[in-house]
């Protein structure tokens, strides 16, 4: 029976053509040949960002021994799932020379690239592909969305620090060295996208992109190739990004068709290999009415959970807020995040920054706890995820980046040993990203950004 569905999968994929690089099936969690012939859920990778660093005394645990029993105040919300978490101190950021300023454009743009923007082409986007997009290239082919990018504020910022392209201020995902990936900020749009449907004005929902679209796009693509031949080399490169996007949407349509076929088979009584009967049903999404920041951030968390739970995507990057600043009236003050981070140790400002940090970690905790409550396979959804929370600065007051704050949650399908605090990891953020992608089973042809090694303390010794 399982074999049967595999044939469908192949038939379907044939239509996608040579553009589709087939990943190794067994590394993806699609293996069928394990001893008990059981479906092993795939590993999912999630990244959640907060700008401007933390109040370090309130973030770092005192020592490894007390981590679980008396965690620092910033981690309070994670208490129930601390045994699912891993903290490591000593991961340094990318050295910013030759830049001398622009700390906030750099904290975000280097976060998943571990690479500095090219100082000779500051006004363009010229950096490197980010870790989440490397992962999406590899595991994205079998899900209806290769990756999901979320944010809770518009990605525009008209500030041009050190001549750097404005996109560096509000983007951390890069599909290619020259292409920033915009994020969805509207939960309704995300929901439509996850289920490939569009609510029409009259309230009737129509199917989103369809098979006919795929064939139509194929023809458009052919025409675009003709056009390409008449363009200059620079223009050709620009058009290539268009072509690449068309191909990516074609792949998405193919993946949607595959899902539809599977669903039809399941209806006809052919059991899918994907889900266990004991798996939790998909969570419900409630789009908030008001403008409370916590509700907005949490519905985006829910969408991330749902996308992972339904295996709609295996990679999600969530910019909790961009460095251009947001305020948190729920915490009882209207100051903007950034203005408070330059606190010069004034107790009032320190208190506010600590509250903002705890608030952001609380949203992450909300997401992680939800994942922990959902059954999947032999364990929980969280067991099969690697969720990384972090910031691109250590101390927002002095813009330091020696010990970037990161929290990992989830065991990555057994590849990561959690419930620990590693007080002295010697490595950089490239090393960390390289290690995480490796734990997720993604083969890398080169280290990510400035990485020179794997952080061997992180993986579980299987």
């Amino acid at each position: 029976m399982i074999k049967n569905s595999t044939i469908h999968r192949r038939t379907c994929l044939k239509g996608v053509g040579a553009a589709l690089a087939l990943p190794l099936l067994d590394a993806m969690g699609w293996a069928e040949a394990s001893e008990r012939n059981a479906y092993k859920p795939p590993v999912r990778l999630g990244f959640m960002y907060m700008p401007h660093g933390v109040i370090m005394e309130q973030f770092w645990p005192t020592d490894a021994a007390s981590f679980l029993t008396s965690p620092p105040p910033a981690l309070d919300s994670l208490r129930p799932v601390l045994d699912q978490c891993l903290l490591m101190k000593g991961v340094s950021g990318v050295p910013i020379s030759p830049f001398s300023g622009a700390p906030h454009a750099l904290e975000l743009s280097t976060w998943l690239t571990a690479t500095l923007p090219d100082p000779d082409k500051r006004d363009e986007i010229s950096i490197s592909i980010s870790a989440d997009q490397i992962a999406a290239n590899y595991v994205g082919a079998f899900t209806t969305l290769p990756s999901l990018e979320l944010a809770t504020m518009p990605q525009t910022w008209k500030e041009n620090q050190e001549g750097l392209n404005e996109a560096y201020y509000s983007h951390c995902s890069f599909r290619s060295p020259t292409q920033a990936v915009p994020a969805e900020t509207n939960p309704r749009n995300v929901l439509d996208r996850l289920f490939n449907q569009k609510e029409q004005g009259s309230g009737r929902a129509s199917a989103g992109i369809s098979a006919l679209d795929r064939n139509m796009l194929d023809l458009v693509l052919g025409g675009a190739r003709d056009l390409r031949r008449t363009l200059s080399p620079t223009d050709q490169r620009k058009l290539d990004e268009y072509l690449d996007s068309v191909r990516s949407v074609e792949r998405r349509i193919a993946a949607i068709e595959l899902r539809q076929k599977e669903a039809a088979m399941e209806k006809a009584g052919v059991r899918s290999s994907r889900r266990h009967e004991s798996d939790s049903p998909p969570i419900e999404i409630k789009i908030p009415e008001g403008d409370r920041r916590s509700e907005y951030m949490q519905v985006m968390c829910d969408l991330n959970v749902l996308a992972f739970q339904t295996d709609t995507t295996r990679v999600c990057t969530y910019i909790g807020s961009t460095p251009n600043g947001v305020s948190y009236p729920e915490l009882g003050f209207n100051d903007q995040h950034h203005s408070q981070t330059h606190h010069n140790n004034e107790p009032e400002k320190v208190r506010k920054v600590a509250a903002i940090t705890a608030f952001n970690i609380e949203q992450f905790a909300y997401m992680v706890k939800k994942m922990h409550s959902l059954r999947e396979g032999d364990g929980t959804l969280l067991d099969n995820c690697i969720m990384m929370w972090g910031s691109g600065l250590e101390d927002g007051d002095r813009h330091t980046r020696e010990n970037l704050p990161f929290i990992l949650a989830g065991r990555g399908g057994g590849s990561i040993k959690t419930g620990r605090f590693l007080p002295d990891v010697k490595g950089n953020q490239g090393d960390l990203l390289t290690t995480l992608l490796t734990c997720a089973g993604i083969p890398l042809d080169r280290p990510i950004g400035i990485a020179t090694k794997q952080l061997t303390e992180i993986p579980a010794n299987v």
Binding site: P146, T156, N165, A180, M216, L219, T230, E241, N344
Partner: protein, 629 residues
């Protein structure tokens, strides 16, 4: 090295354009520049710069003079010459502790900036295809299908940096598909229902049964493509559209539904989403004039942010649009059309720094009046003023000083004119206060250059220097504490002015801040949202006096305005450079400097009139030409 990568595009001067007299003068200036470089600049660099800024990794501050020593006129280096000159001028470089050049040597290095451009061959610069912005895309759909331009609201927001607008992500493409569906759902009747008027106009009569539907579809494709691609489609392009029509038929779609699929294909084609050249030019020439259709698109997206109208397309059809008198007449016509507000929304707002005023944070307890309506009024004041200068073809000196502005009741309160103006409508108001009038006294500008809770003389100073006078202000050196971080005890009794003046007690800061701060202080009578005040937050009297380098003194905003009005030429040049860069969608470099020199002559001769300035930019060499490779 990026510098060398770019050398692929290093083209020879185009000989077809030049006139022999100009040629002689140009050659003489070039020889002079080369000599100046050899005798003065190269030795200066070797003595004072090269030890740090040379060809090695990592490059010191990303600056390497080795390629510049070999080809000093290379376009890729022109921005770096400007920055280097700014640093040398500010005594920022060479750093303390290293051998310092004499004042004469510094002066010599600054003068190089006026000469380096003569090394550049005539060159319209790179022309990279770009996709329509979210606004342009929405307007274009509106003009084609009558839908609300807001239909594009779900698209990701855009930043305006170079490079971003050229790229396109899968998310965007999916949205293009979905928006295409929405547009067609709104504009067209469902299958089986009688067609809408627009549908009839675009699709014509369906072929009678028995007629060749494919042939009819091709005719429709031809006329639609001309509209959507903004130029006649090639045979190959029509073939693709025919194939899409066939695809519809094979999938048992009706004739109109197949046409609709074809239209949808056009809406997601690069020919629609990008501004692309028509085919067919002399491939042997390295530089060619833009074809008339491309010129029409470039022009209409610049001035209207939408597709060319019929008049432009007709002129393009007849090949006449490029003729200077016709092009100039079209610019005038287009500027007088209400659609030209796009020039403010796209360019003016960005120039004045008002693009983010709507979302900028202000301390709500201190400035409760900064609500949405007030921000909009501030934006509209600047917009109406800008549009007035354009449509009435006033001198750009009005931007520096004028005796009128546009207010509604809300905004009038900021001016203290609430008794004079009632109602929410914006209208023209005569001003009597010399401190107001012009962009320097506009609340929107003053608010955009403030912090959420107080004024920033430094930000305002930078704004005047960069946005008004076009100077380069080097970025602050690293590790300088912002005001908030100064030792709170030692500064507790100081006014903001005195605290800011601490910048100038530190030699590292002093170089730039002795230039920046006095300008900002000159505007201190305006609070963080542009209200007049005689005392600061702590009740101390405002001291708005200052002195610019060179000894020009002023003691109020109106005197500062007068000082700046004396530098109308610098202001005009800055405006030309900014508009030209915006029109070309790239930064200026190399030969562009010479272009600006020529435009400036034209503009100065016509008393700095705004329409002349815009027309000069639109008829300029780089706007009307492109490289072929």
């Amino acid at each position: 090295m990026a510098v060398f990568v770019l050398s692929v595009f290093w083209v020879n001067p185009s000989t077809c354009m030049a006139q022999s007299a100009d040629d002689g003068a140009r050659a003489a200036r070039k020889a002079d520049a080369e000599k100046y470089f050899r005798n003065h600049v190269a030795p200066f660099i070797k003595t004072y710069c090269l030890e740090c800024h040379q060809n090695r990794r990592p490059t010191e501050a990303g600056l390497n003079f080795n390629p510049a020593l070999k080809s000093p006129g290379h376009a890729a280096f022109s921005e770096k010459w400007k920055k280097a000159a700014a640093r040398v001028k500010a005594h920022d470089m060479p750093p303390d502790g290293l051998e310092q050049p004499t004042e004469e040597e510094r002066q010599m290095f600054l003068e190089w900036l006026d000469k380096v451009k003569y090394l550049s061959p005539q060159d319209p610069g790179p022309f990279v295809i770009r996709r329509l912005t979210k606004t342009e895309y929405g307007n274009t759909l509106h003009d084609l299908f009558g839908v609300d331009p807001k239909i594009t609201d779900a698209m990701p927001d855009e930043v305006s940096g170079a490079g971003y607008l050229n790229s396109l992500s899968p998310l965007q493409l999916e949205q293009y598909l979905s928006i295409a569906d929405q547009v067609l759902d709104q504009a067209f009747a469902p299958d089986e229902s009688p067609p809408t008027e627009l549908q009839q106009r675009l699709f014509g009569e369906p072929p009678a049964s028995g007629d060749d539907a494919r042939k009819a579809a091709r005719k429709v494709a031809e006329s639609l493509a001309k509209k959507l691609y903004r130029r006649p489609a090639s045979d190959a392009e029509l073939k693709v559209l025919e194939d899409v029509f066939d695809l519809g038929r094979h999938n048992e779609l009706s004739y109109p539904a197949s046409l609709r699929l074809m239209l949808k294909a056009m809406l997601v084609s690069p020919q629609f989403l990008f501004i692309t050249p028509a085919e067919g030019f002399d491939t042997k020439a390295e530089i060619v004039p833009l074809d008339d259709f491309q010129l029409a698109s470039r022009l209409s997206y610049l001035l209207w942010a939408t597709l060319p109208d019929e008049e432009l397309m007709t002129l393009a059809d007849s090949g006449k649009l490029r003729e200077p008198p016709i092009l100039k007449a079209q610019v005038k016509r287009m500027l007088e059309d209400p659609r030209s507000r796009a020039l403010f929304d796209g360019f003016g707002a960005q120039w004045l720094g008002l693009g983010d005023l709507g979302s900028k944070t202000f301390d709500p307890s201190k400035f409760p009046e900064m609500n949405g309506a007030m921000r909009l009024a501030m934006y509209d004041e600047a917009r109406l003023f800008f549009e007035g200068v354009v449509r009435e073809n006033r001198s750009i000196a009005s931007f520096i000083d004028s005796d009128y502005t546009f207010l509604n009741e809300n905004l009038a309160a900021i001016y203290g004119l609430e008794k004079l103006v009632t109602g929410t409508e914006m209208r023209k108001v005569q001003l009597t206060d010399d401190n107001r009038g012009g962009i320097l006294g506009m609340p929107g500008v003053l608010a955009a250059t403030s912090f959420p809770n107080r004024t920033s003389p430094v930000k305002r100073g930078v704004w005047v220097l960069e946005q008004v006078l076009g100077d380069h202000v080097p970025a602050a050196p690293p590790n300088v504490p912002a005001l908030e971080k100064q030792d709170q005890h030692s500064i507790a009794h100081l006014t903001l002015r005195e605290r800011t003046e601490l910048h100038r007690s530190d030699p590292v800061c002093a170089n730039c801040h002795r230039l920046l701060d006095p300008i900002g202080f000159g505007l201190e009578n305006f609070d963080a949202i542009g209200r007049w005040r005689d005392q600061d937050d702590n009740g101390a009297p405002i001291n708005a006096s200052g002195e610019l380098p060179g000894g020009v003194r002023f003691s109020s905003p109106s005197e500062l305005k007068a000082v700046i009005a004396q530098r109308l030429d610098a202001f005009a040049r800055n405006l030309v450079e900014k508009l030209l860069a915006y029109a070309l969608c790239r930064k200026l470099e190399g030969y562009d400097e010479i272009v600006v020199d020529e435009l400036m002559q034209e503009i100065t001769q016509d008393d700095y009139r705004m329409q002349t300035l815009i027309t000069a930019v639109v008829t300029s060499y780089p706007f009307t030409h492109r490289r072929t490779e």
